[in-house]
Amino acid sequence: MPSKTTTAPDRSKGNAGWGLKAAAWFGVLYLNLPILFIVLYGFTTDEASYSFPPPGLTTEWFAVTWSRQDFWDALALSVQVAFAAMAIAMVLGTLAAAAMYRFKFFGKEAVTLLILLPIALPGIVTGISLRSAFAIGDIPFSYITIVLGHATFCIVVVYNNAIARLRRSSPALIEASMDLGADTFQTFRHVILPNLATALLAGGMLAFALSFDEIIVTTFTAGQQETLPIWMFRQLARPHQRPVTNVAAIIVMIITFAPILAAYYLTRDTDDVAGSGK
């Protein structure tokens, strides 16, 4: 969270020097000023170009966006894909974390690397490799292929959150539960799951946010479908109704910011939200 360095200085620890303050504010502006411009141009009266200052301000683009069926289709597809990718990631990521935590086996480090790889690889590499894999398998590009593409990197954030929490819990907890009469299922339900719950929820929300604004992998794994980011990208190339893109961007920001914020608050007292940096 880059904003952490810029929160009000803790008076009990003394004041930061003015140089540090200036640098911090520069960092904040550098990161966030462009975003403010995106919001600003969502209200401009200039349809074809982004001139500064805007010739006038209007809210008509919200109405225009509202009436555009292609916008609604793209938004609906993105939400569906994000939920599906999140669901797959939560199941597989949790299982992978449980297995990696519980068992020692030959090649464990290599498998860990393989699980983490999709988030480290450039999206274009993941995208191209998935595209050729789907082509070899003769799988038609569809909603399913988009979900599969997103799931590759969504699994990582769930896995990271789950395994961080597991590593911090005492293995004696499971033994204690069994010692007190709980079988495997009861132990999972009453001890493991409640301990993992916030980490899983945080991981799932990050996965949702990652999937929702993904464009590179989607470009290679989508057929005729347009997710919201792709729709926005194509929208920019058109000469008229440009501010509609900005309105969509504002909506994307709101939809992705809420789960990331929630994930941060869910896990800040326990451990770092692994993967929140992406």
Binding site: A172, M178, D179, D183, H190
Partner: protein, 360 residues
């Protein structure tokens, strides 16, 4: 623990009767081995733990005592042999189907549950109605002097309080056997001594068999009815604390339980006339000025003081022997006694019965 002192004295006699008259052992090890690869953590061990007794398993780390505890709990299965709990063979029985409960070394309290829910966990699993399990859990918290702490989270308790919660969480299920895995290890000295007294009192009160694993010989001696001393996967000696201290069966036990002067080879021969290993407790040795006579029926040796350590209640003298070797003598600072300086010659003597000889 006010209620304990109010109990009629017969209560204690009943417990003793129970120990003496019981026919089935609470826990029985029958030629039990547990191997981890080539490591024989437990090696063909056989012993019985009587019903209602406070039984300690004492030994250095890696001696097999904790593995034995885990074999009783069911977290380990024997490679060979059988573990019996109240006569029933436990081989293949998972931990949750055993009528034993454990107090873990790091307490293993569930961090997401309140103290009360922690204590009531076993009852909840056994589907005891909510009101009833709440009543029983609160009663148990009262017994460990934590009444009113039920609403807190384990993270809000001190180490000693967590330890009591762990004890209450196990005892509320009224197990046939309670297993304690170095439960006082994480506490400071003062609290540890206080908890030793309380644990012993609680055990007498509930009458449940306690199996207590520790590497602290002081703990084992102060609380237990009997102690099994473990070394390298085997039991060196199983005896009462007094027997263990006064009559150690092996040189390992003599060295591990209490402080001991172990003499071997030439040093032993110079003192006893034979080369076999022998040992004598520092407090059994009398310290006299050089040249004084040794009483009849006692054994003596002359030596020279090489180090003096004043310890308050007693003073420790290291005395070098002419035949090689060294004897540590502990002198109570109660009555007047000679106070030799470093380098002075002294005469040592002890009653012959206090000299312990070992085959190994």
């Amino acid at each position: 623990m006010g209620r304990i002192s109010n109990d009629p004295p017969q209560f204690y006699i009943n417990v003793t009767d129970l120990i003496m008259n019981s026919t089935t052992a609470a826990v029985s090890f029958n030629q039990v081995s547990r191997h981890f690869g080539a490591v024989k953590a437990v090696d063909a061990v056989s012993f019985d733990i009587k019903d209602g007794e406070f039984f300690a398993m004492l030994g250095p780390s890696g001696s097999g005592k904790t593995t034995c505890l885990r074999l009783i709990a069911g977290f380990e299965q024997p490679t060979e042999g059988h573990v019996l709990v109240h006569g029933a063979d436990m081989n293949g029985v998972p931990p949750y189907d055993r009528d034993v409960n454990t107090v873990f070394q790091d307490y293993a309290l569930f961090p997401h549950m309140s103290v009360l829910d922690n204590v009531a966990y076993g009852l909840m699993i056994r589907k005891v109605p909510a009101a009833e399990r709440r009543r029983q859990a609160e009663e148990m918290l009262d017994m460990v002097a934590l009444g009113g702490f039920g609403g807190r989270k384990p993270s809000q308790l001190s180490g000693g309080q967590r330890q009591r919660v762990a004890l209450a969480r196990a005892l509320v299920n009224h197990p046939k056997v309670l297993l304690l895995d170095e439960p006082l290890g994480a506490l400071d000295l003062k609290l540890r001594e206080q908890m030793q007294v309380e644990l012993k009192a609680i055990q007498r009160r509930v009458g449940i068999t306690f199996v207590y694993v520790t590497h602290d010989q002081g703990e084992a001696l102060s609380m237990s009815d009997r102690v099994a001393v473990f070394n390298q996967g085997k039991i060196e000696q199983l005896a009462s604390p007094t027997e263990l201290y006064e009559n150690p069966a092996t040189s390992f036990v003599a060295g591990f339980v209490g402080i001991s002067n172990l003499l071997e080879g030439a040093a032993a021969k110079a003192v006893t006339g034979t080369e076999g290993a022998c040992s004598i407790r520092p407090e059994k040795i009398h310290l006299d000025s050089a040249g004084s006579s040794v009483p009849a029926n006692a054994m003596g040796v002359a030596g020279r003081v090489s180090a003096i350590l004043y310890l308050g209640a007693n003073t420790r003298y290291d005395v070098a022997l002419p035949g090689g070797g060294e004897l540590t003598v502990a002198v109570q600072n109660r009555d007047a006694h000679i106070e030799p300086k470093e380098g002075e010659d002294v005469q040592l003597w002890w009653e012959a019965r206090h000299l312990m000889r070992f085959a190994r």
